[in-house]
């Protein structure tokens, strides 16, 4: 038993509260919406919209979360969880990139049946992979609402295929839904943690 085991619930509670600001959800929602727009308009240049929102994550945390919630450096399990999250997300992004590259390279050489399967079920495979990524993120970060996003991803994906709705449009709708959840969480966070009247440290 480590020295801090008795207080790990406190650290866990603080860690969870720190991530209830909805910023990560809004970034994810904006990224998914951007990816959907790229699919809808079939414009490779629009791919920038899918990753650009993530550039705002740290500045928003610094300017919205920290002044209200306070600044904290986690240690032990929480710090480990943050590191693992970043590593897993990076690993999955690299995996998807390599998978895409390999598929592109071998596509012409694989059996026609397999080509047909990929053509027919590509969107479902992509949706399944995205849902898996979100479920892994939920498990590692402990943010259980990411399981909901994983389920929503599958539902939107399957509904799009069954109803023959444009997959780009369904992805945009999914992104906007996640963004709306994030915006709701942010509004709740701003009410729970108003800006302190005095600047940090002045009370000392």
């Amino acid at each position: 038993m480590s020295k801090n085991d008795d207080f790990k619930d406190l650290a866990n509670r603080a860690y969870m509260a720190y991530h209830q600001d909805g910023i990560i959800d809004m970034m994810l929602g904006a990224g998914v919406t951007g990816f959907g727009l790229r699919m809808f308009f079939d414009s490779p240049a629009l791919i920038v919209l899918s990753w650009m929102p993530f550039l705002f994550y740290l500045p928003l945390k610094t300017h919205i979360t920290a002044p209200r919630f306070g600044y904290v450096r986690f240690t032990g399990e929480e710090e480990e969880r943050m590191k693992n999250t970043r590593l897993i997300l990076l690993g999955l992004l690299v995996f998807i990139f390599v998978l895409g590259l390999v598929l592109a390279l071998v596509y012409g050489r694989i059996a026609p049946q397999m080509q047909a399967f990929i053509s027919q079920n590509g969107i479902l495979l992509l949706g399944g992979l995205a849902a898996l990524l979100l479920a892994v993120a939920a498990a590692v970060t402990g943010l259980r609402r990411f399981y909901l996003y994983a389920v929503l991803t599958l539902l939107f994906n399957i509904a799009g295929v069954l109803l023959a709705v444009n997959e780009g449009l369904m992805t945009v709708l999914l992104g906007l839904t996640i963004f709306a959840v994030g915006a709701w969480l942010l509004s709740r966070f701003l009410r729970a943690y108003p800006l302190p009247e005095e600047e940090e440290g002045r009370g000392r």
Partner: protein, 109 residues
């Protein structure tokens, strides 16, 4: 147990309780600080629910006792007053936890 003095073995742990830590507000502050690496004033204010004046006064006492250190640091180019447990504070809270366990064990048999 009537007439038993604090020097007698049965209740000795009670006399060993560190009064600097035993105050609920200071215990809360130290508990949070022992669960994280470091935190600023606003974080402790939100987590403990103390008033600014109260928190400030308890932090001052803990700093004077050598249990916490208060340092100004630049984090992401923003100056922050970071509060962390010192080695002495970490040891003191560990001793406090062990003493409290002994007290509970003694009292509940």
């Amino acid at each position: 147990m009537a007439g038993e003095s604090l020097q007698e073995p049965g209740v000795q742990p009670i006399a060993d309780i560190d009064r600097m830590i035993h105050a609920p507000a200071r215990l809360m502050i130290l508990a949070f600080l022992s669960a994280v690496d470091s935190a600023d004033f606003t974080f402790l204010l939100n987590q403990t629910g103390l008033t600014r004046g109260n928190l400030s006064s308890h932090l001052q006492k803990l700093e004077e006792a050598g249990y916490i250190s208060v340092q100004k640091e630049f984090v992401d180019r923003i100056p922050r007053t970071l509060i962390r447990l010192t080695a002495e504070g970490r040891e003191a809270i560990q001793t406090y936890k062990e003493t409290m366990r002994q007290v509970v064990d003694e009292l509940l048999g």
